[in-house]
Symmetry: C2
Subunit: 247 residues, 2 copies
């Protein structure tokens, strides 16, 4: 196994960072790494907003559900689906591309492009000894987040990423058994759930060991409880309001 795969396999989310800020050179290198990811038909349909302003970070932390590490980190990145540039470029050439960029297909392209770039940035950061944590919580108040980041039509903030020098040691969380995730030649629903009882044991032990027995829930319990309550029910309307996935 090479060093790169070791880094990838060694990922864990970090939720406590030192005061040390990322340097301008580090930020530039991380964004370049993000940009090197594949992009659908060379479209590059995403933007990254780096947040250094502390007041702004505190507001984002608040919107994300009072997660202090959204404000306290080395740098905070917000990844956005972005077809705004494309619309402007075409408009200047007298071409109307709204039917395309407002399609669900284009929305998927932009979300995937943004996520591939983000994961490159995450791996690059971890290779530099930095810690990272994805912040889906910015979608709790996505309208307000869009307002303070001043994102126009055809730009949709998707998630944040806190990056910084780790101030804590965290553990790797065990992933699903391979056969729950990986199928050969066709989707195999039975295999996907066959080993979940065993996995539930693993996860229950994981929590028990780390909380002095206070938390003991299994993965399937956790998932069921999380998905029992529907969150962010405004999303469909808001996504469409921003110009995405309308048709």
């Amino acid at each position: 196994m090479n060093q790169i795969i070791e880094t990838i396999l060694d990922h864990r989310s970090v939720r406590s960072f030192t005061q040390e800020r990322l340097t301008a050179e580090e930020i530039k290198l991380l964004v370049e790494a993000a940009q090197a990811a594949s992009t659908s038909s060379y479209i590059q349909a995403y933007s990254i907003i780096g947040v250094s302003d502390h007041k702004l970070k505190e507001k984002l932390a608040d919107y994300a559900g009072n997660q202090s590490y959204v404000a306290e980190n080395g740098h905070f990145f917000v990844f956005c689906a972005d077809l705004h540039r494309h619309e402007q470029i075409a408009y200047e050439k007298g071409v109307d591309i709204k039917a395309t960029i407002e399609s669900t297909e284009a929305f998927m392209i932009a979300v995937i492009d943004a996520a591939l770039a983000a994961q490159n940035l995450a791996i690059a950061a971890e290779s530099m000894g930095l810690g990272i944590c994805y912040i889906g919580g910015i979608r709790n108040h996505l309208k307000e987040v869009s307002e303070i980041l001043e994102t126009p039509e055809y730009v949709l903030p998707l998630f944040g990423m806190a990056v910084g020098h780790p101030a804590q040691q965290t553990d790797k969380k065990p992933r699903l058994p391979l056969q729950s995730v990986y199928h050969e030649n066709k989707y195999d629903g039975e295999s996907a759930i066959a080993k979940l009882a065993e996995y539930d044991e693993t996860i229950s032990s994981y929590y028990r060991a780390r909380t002095d027995g206070i938390r003991t829930e299994t993965w399937t319990d956790q998932i069921t409880n999380r998905l029992r309550h529907t969150k962010r029910t405004f999303m469909k309307e808001f996504v469409e309001e921003k110009g995405f996935s309308k048709r």
Copy 2:
């Protein structure tokens, strides 16, 4: 700059592979690397279908628009948004989570989870000296692709990835200027387009040099032409038919 960032920055898509198949150990390691990526609230809302059956690969190549490297490679992976397992788990516990998993929010979570996993697999493969190419083309005939891969409700194939031993040397394609993609503290639409004329020159030269002057188009021309015609107009309906982004 460390070796990992060098690997990331050195990415180029590979569209021609030798006959050598990936070994079972290589495939396992790549899937483990994929699984190590971050996942929203531990939901792990994706699946990977590895396609080794050559007849199946040929069908996929056909659906993807006659791209031979979809059939001729070391292994072909299909990444799917997957909330099927979750629905089954909750159903067995007597809990109805359909309102959640059918939401646009859950669709975004699943697409992002799948893309993060895919990019980990891509980097891991490249670190092993393998080449990769994302295949969005499987969405050309997504209904047929879903049928031959036998994906049930709440599973949506998103894109493929051809992986294998490179049989060609390809060039890196220059990315947008950093200021077109990266913003500080707020979205800056003017900066995003300010350097595009310069970038257009770069891209035009890139094609001119590689095609003996036959191709000379700029990035903004290419984008405008690609987005002028709306592709995959069935996507919104099909995504909803599979149970995603319905509400």
